[in-house]
């Protein structure tokens, strides 16, 4: 064994989880982390302020993980920033993921190895394309263990290649030593990919950044969709349309292409409406939300143009 300082064991890892709405999803994510081959040095659960009731702290003790629970002010403080600030003095690498993301046994070890081998690597976003669907009445203990209801190969390939990334969860990992003075932006509950892409755009100037598909993570989907489809469609479309209001993105090379993303969103919802009777109503409501956001955006643009004309 070499005596070098940067073998993967020497890079300490912390995991930041965004918990928002469902205690069962958070619990499943924590259970999967507890089963990791290489345990993280710290696990931080970030909740929106006022939703602290979501976590059952005594139950954390049974997981044998060093867990800290922090609260983020939804408006001013991004959960990414809260997690980053808490992690920075303690670990070398931080992994950010949302509740409901199930990591497999070697996930953290692979991230450690990758960063240890490539010292120029500063940030990775792995989009979670594969899903595990569970019945709504499944017990907590059965959620993370996986289920037989995984998607087929063709479905998985199509999701990886064609699906809008905004519709899939993602895992962000960053090298903290290269991440000083980053500006984190949280757009909304449904926009993790956008937040991660903006973060990666900033890191791009500091080293190598990579976007790929997560082989070591799955999304846990409880069959009943508890989120409001209208709000989901509206928020996604609205944030994509107004992304430049939030942050100055690099003009030439950005991981986020709002136009392509919006087209993919529309196409997927339209196809779901036509081809899938089970999710027809959900797709229709999502489309309505997106169309409303589009109308509002156009109206806003016209109002601004009118005001500029009046000023001139």
């Amino acid at each position: 064994m070499m005596s070098d300082r940067n073998t993967h064991e020497d890079l300490s890892v912390g995991v930041v989880i965004s918990a928002r709405s469902d205690w069962r999803l958070l619990h499943a994510t924590l259970q999967s982390i507890a089963r990791l081959a290489s345990q993280p040095a710290l696990v931080i659960v970030v909740l929106p302020r006022g939703r602290e009731y979501l976590v059952d702290q005594p139950e954390f003790a049974g997981l044998q993980l060093p867990i800290r629970v922090l609260a983020a002010d939804a408006l001013e403080d991004s959960w990414l920033a809260v997690g980053f600030r808490a992690m920075a003095p303690i670990v070398d690498l931080a992994i950010f993921l949302s509740e409901g993301t199930i990591v497999q046994r070697d996930c953290v070890k692979q991230v450690q190895c990758r960063y240890a081998a490539w010292e120029d690597l500063v940030g990775i976003v792995d989009v979670v394309a594969d899903t595990i669907k569970v019945a709504p009445n499944t017990e907590n203990s059965g959620l993370a263990a996986g289920s037989q209801m995984r998607n087929g190969l063709l479905h998985s390939l199509l999701r990886r290649r064609l699906r809008a990334r905004s519709l899939m969860p993602a895992v962000l990992s960053v090298r903290l030593a290269a991440s000083g003075n980053l500006r984190f932006v949280t757009f909304s509950t449904f926009c993790d990919w956008m937040s991660y892409a903006v973060c990666l755009d900033q890191l791009r100037a500091r080293g190598r950044t990579v976007v790929g598909v997560a082989e070591q993570a799955r999304e846990l989907q409880v069959s009943t969709e508890r989120r409001s489809a209208f709000e989901f469609g509206y928020v996604l479309y609205d944030r994509l349309s107004r992304i430049d209001d939030y942050i100055d993105r690099p003009v030439e090379a950005s991981y986020l292409n709002p136009r392509t993303e919006k087209v993919k969103l529309f196409v997927e919802q339209a196809l779901q409406y036509l081809l899938s009777p089970d999710t027809r109503r959900h797709a229709m409501t999502t489309l309505k939300g997106m169309l409303k956001a589009r109308r509002d955006t156009k109206m806003r643009e016209r109002a601004i143009q009118r005001e500029l004309r009046d000023l001139a």
Binding site: M2, D4, N6, A117, W118, E119, D120, L121, V122, A177, A178, S179, G180, N181, A205, R206, G207, R208
Partner: protein
């Protein structure tokens, strides 16, 4: 371990960037790590240090037989400089069974020349390189994103070694009534024009002074400069930094590392562009002020901010020792040794 350091500098600037790796102090540190370096310079002639055990200069460049023979006697071939000049070395070294390591510095503008036939040939040959060492992360990224080093197995950060010893500097931070900004050396490629453009954008000229270490280039401009700018002869980094309160590095350049390290050691504020080795040494703004590279307005704003908070600077000046450690010849030699070992281990594993 026997290694061979191959240098290929296309121009004087590149030669200057690679000079630290041939300094006697660095070669001696390599020997302390049980590395026996031999030096091949494919472009220069004559001025190599005599302390290296074996030196091949341009005179032997065309004698491929000699180089091949040399490659066969060494375990690791470590190349520096312009990639188009190194393509045949990589191929010959790999065929001779040596581990191939390449060091990336800020000297080569690889992206701008990526489509030239020479660059395409070099890109093809770069598949023989097993490990990449870089003075900063951005430099390695540029090469990898341009398609070089497709089969490399790992990368490491190795800063350019400093030629001078930097020990504990006396704390000479004096709270002057107004700050003196300093900029030293390497005033080529319009760097001085850029600095002056930024200074003209700063509002209150009477709230600071500027001291520029004069070179032959800067002397020609001196008559056009602002009243609060003064010049002095280019002199040793340590003494220059002592005369100023804030060091300005207008353009990201690895040659300014010595000044930056000296300034950090003397608890001076550093203003530098974001990107490159210096911004990494400054921990992306934790121990200095960064501005958007090439943006005179951003530099002016940084100068304004430092001037505005001059009476209560928001820096704790911690971390100077770790920066000195990163650029010490011993540390860089240790990183080289780690890379050579790793290349050696992987070669054994394959065998």
């Amino acid at each position: 371990m026997k290694s061979i350091l191959v240098f290929a500098a296309a121009d004087a600037h590149a030669r200057e960037m690679l000079a630290p790796y041939r300094l006697p102090s660095f070669l001696s540190s390599l020997r302390d790590e049980n590395i026996e370096p031999a030096i091949v310079d494919l472009t220069a002639s004559g001025e190599l240090p005599v302390s290296a055990p074996l030196v091949i200069t341009a005179a032997l460049r065309r004698n491929r037989g000699t180089i091949k023979e040399l490659l066969q006697a060494r375990r690791v071939v470590h190349t520096f400089g312009d990639v188009p000049l190194l393509a045949s070395i990589w191929r010959n070294a790999a065929q001779a069974g040596c581990g191939v390591v390449h060091s990336v510095t800020g000297a080569s503008n690889v992206v701008g020349r990526a489509l030239l036939p020479k660059s395409l040939w070099a890109k093809h040959a770069s598949r023989y390189v097993e490990a990449i060492l870089g003075s900063n992360r951005g430099a390695i990224r540029d090469y990898i994103e341009a398609g070089f080093f497709a089969h490399a197995k790992f990368s490491m950060i190795a800063r350019p070694p400093l030629g001078i010893a930097i020990g504990a500097e006396p704390n000479v931070q004096q709270q002057a009534s107004i700050p003196t900004f300093g900029c030293r050396g390497h005033h080529t490629d319009g760097v001085l024009d850029f600095l002056v453009a930024a200074l003209k954008l700063v509002g209150n000229q009477h709230l600071f002074r500027v001291l520029i270490a004069q070179t032959a280039d800067s002397a020609a401009f001196s008559s056009r400069f602002l009243a609060n700018i003064s010049f002095q002869h280019l002199r040793e980094s340590r003494n220059f930094v002592r005369c100023v309160n804030v060091l300005i590095v207008p353009k990201s350049d690895d040659r300014a590392i010595e000044d930056v390290v000296m300034a950090l050691r003397q608890n001076k504020i550093v203003i530098a562009p974001d990107g490159g080795t210096i911004s990494e040494l400054l921990q992306f703004g934790r121990s200095g002020v960064l501005f958007k590279a090439g943006d005179a307005y951003a530099l002016a704003r940084a100068i304004n901010n430092v001037t505005a908070c001059w009476n209560r600077p928001p820096f704790d000046f911690r971390g100077g020792e770790s920066v000195v450690d990163q650029v010490s010849p011993q540390q860089v030699a240790r990183t080289f040794a780690r890379a050579y070992q790793k290349v050696g281990h992987e070669a054994k594993a394959v065998a």
